[in-house]
Symmetry: C2
């Protein structure tokens, strides 16, 4: 028999490590002949774009390069499967392509939308009596999947955010004049990544002085009060704000047009950070700068977390073992057994308990003033950014693996 | 006798290494008793804010931390000295404070404005018959100082830009749909840092597909033509554009309000990248994203260039030796003796030949189509980003040295 693996949704630094976990474990089973990669997520199963990963990964060196390459070596997609009753043809196409390649299991590495695909596909195969297993492998920098302690990809994103915010803090503190620096961090619905900025406190930084998450209502007037109060203690106030904070338009007026994306997937001109910069400049009048960490949060693999990359590979490997033990329609999960020492157990959960559900940042980890997070949150984040993988350098730059030679 | 050192202008990753060069070499001379640090640049000499660096740097560990800390541990300023004939009082204050501390030499680490200070101060001391020497140590991520092969701080900024642009390229290439990614890079007057994006080609990237520098006129219609042409070859077009490109307002209309800063030092709402994003969205209609690398270009010391940091320390050390040999009113320089092997000679030049002069990116290194740079430029950049300093990590983050405990 053969198996197939695909990557989906927004890129991360760890999604290629999970691919390696599936590949390396898959080829160890004598029952498994070929591990196929499906190009551009589930689209590869629909359009029959499958590559034998043995022909792609031909040496240990390539394997190492894939591990340190950000984004998805097999490409990605945002395709959402219809319900079988609405469009059975696409399911039949997928089934045919899988059967033509004797593929008995499909591993889908992705976030919430991908788990929806895992649920639909596995249910369809069961109903049709097809012996094809479907396993979800979590991945998202948003860390918003339920039933898992955290998601692969999040630790590296948090390490990038904290490292960069610490450097921005140094940069912002050189002049004697008062200033405000507003850093906009990804997370449209949940504040996990923005909250991880609290990691700076582990190294005696007072920054970030204010942290705003989408889980709490945001008020412009309270924000201005918070900033002015902080300026009494700190000449350079550092603000970490989630792109997803929502505020009433009557309060913000034209300054604010939300961090939401338009149909082309790009943001409206004024994101949260830029809007708050304008407001601080007008209402407080001090030096102010806004910084959007943008896609660097999800692709800066030169700064990835050693724990994150190792866990991503391990959870990919465990997915193959679960499949071999008969599981289908599940998503792999992490359970944290302890912090000292940090210890994880890998398990799995019904994918339908994850798909289309969101895990919000816990209310009890948000400080009472709604503009900070607690020490308990810091303890949760710390092990996730631990460890620095050694990176192969070529000509002063990290060496990358590129499947297509187009870019 | 004693000496003093100060840091000025915009932060870089290498300016603290130059400070160490002055400090470590200064304390080796038996003639020199104390190396003072002047807080917030020249302002420290005016307001008598001087610290004995021996009381600040008390161990080898602190020394190492300073070397890997971005920005300026002694603070910075944007203060421009008046002409002595316009305001002699400030010169008299500086002279008094220096003499009160028996300071016979002042080292100013900075860019163009700082060299102006070196010229004025050294001239004043000569005219007044004061035996106080003034030496400039170059520093700027802009690389725009004449009479030196390059400036400390530039190599680390170029390494950040190239590393990040390579990761953005991977991130932008995951979907099958056509897209344009516009990366706005610092450099208001010169294109050195934007041009350094060509470093990606050393590692077989086709990106960046288009490079626009402020040294050449920018035309929106030609830009759109360039993008459309590139889209025929590359589904994901990566554009590196300098914040300083200038275009006629009649062509761009309201989309474009220049990358210039206002009196608070922050940018107008729409920078070049955001303006071009809007134009591509409207005129071409494909997926488009703009990314501003912002201050991360100058403060990402977790990614600094080994050569840059070593050279910055060496040029600081050499400055002390030049002073001891009797020099004043000069700026330290690098002369490149060869690329294979890469070999530098440190020298110096009259500071007045640097102050208020700008070194533009060479015309012969810009490709004929005005949207690319040549292989010769790549060869110039390559050694500047070579080497990865080992970074001390604490709690998963680079350890930093902070003089004031305020931030």
């Amino acid at each position: 028999m053969n198996i197939a693996v695909a990557q989906s949704g927004g890129p991360t630094c760890a999604i290629n490590a999970s691919l390696l976990g599936v590949f390396r474990t898959g080829i160890q089973y004598t029952e498994i002949d070929t591990v196929y990669g499906s190009l551009n997520g589930i689209e590869g199963l629909i359009y029959n774009n499958l590559v034998d990963l043995n022909t792609v990964i031909t040496s240990d060196e390539e394997l190492e390069l894939i591990r340190q390459t950000p984004s998805t070596v097999l490409g990605s997609c945002r395709y959402k499967l219809p319900q079988p009753e609405d469009d059975k043809a696409v399911y039949e196409t997928i089934t045919k392509n899988l059967k033509d390649h004797n593929i008995k299991a499909f591993f889908y590495i992705g976030g919430n939308d991908s788990m929806d695909t895992v649920v639909k596909l596995s249910r369809y195969f069961k109903n049709e009596g097809e012996d094809i297993k479907v396993i979800g492998i979590p991945k998202t920098i948003d860390n918003d999947l339920p039933h898992t302690d955290h998601t692969p990809g999040f630790g590296s994103a948090a390490k990038y955010v904290a490292t960069t915010l610490q450097e921005i803090t140094r940069d912002s503190s050189v002049y004697s004049a008062k200033s405000v620096t507003i850093v906009e961090i990804m997370g449209r619905d949940t504040g996990w990544l923005t909250a991880s900025s609290v990691l700076l406190r582990a190294n005696s930084n007072s920054a970030p002085h204010l942290i705003y998450l989408p889980e709490k209502p945001f008020s412009v007037s309270k924000f201005l009060d918070d900033v002015v109060k902080m300026q009494e203690k700190y000449p350079s106030v550092i603000v970490a704000v989630s792109e997803g904070v929502s505020l009433s338009s009557d309060e913000a007026g034209e300054d604010f047009t939300s961090g939401k994306e338009d149909i082309f997937g790009h943001k409206y001109l004024a994101g949260v950070g830029k809007a708050l910069e304008k407001i601080v400049s007008r209402e407080i009048g001090c030096k102010v700068r806004s910084i959007e960490l943008n896609v660097m949060q999800r692709c800066s693999s030169h700064l990835s977390s050693g724990n994150d990359i190792a866990e991503a590979e391990n959870i990919g490997a465990a997915a193959v073992k679960e499949m071999m033990s008969g599981k289908t329609g599940v998503m792999m999960t992490f359970e944290r057994l302890g912090n000292k020492p940090y210890n994880l157990r890998i398990g799995c959960v019904e994918a339908e308990k994850v798909a289309n559900h969101v895990k919000y940042f816990p209310d009890e980890w948000i400080a009472e003033n709604n503009c900070d997070v607690t020490h308990r949150a810091l303890e949760y984040f710390l092990p996730l950014i631990h460890g620095e993988p050694s990176i192969r350098i070529k000509n002063g730059l990290p060496a990358h693996f590129v499947l297509s030679k187009e870019n």
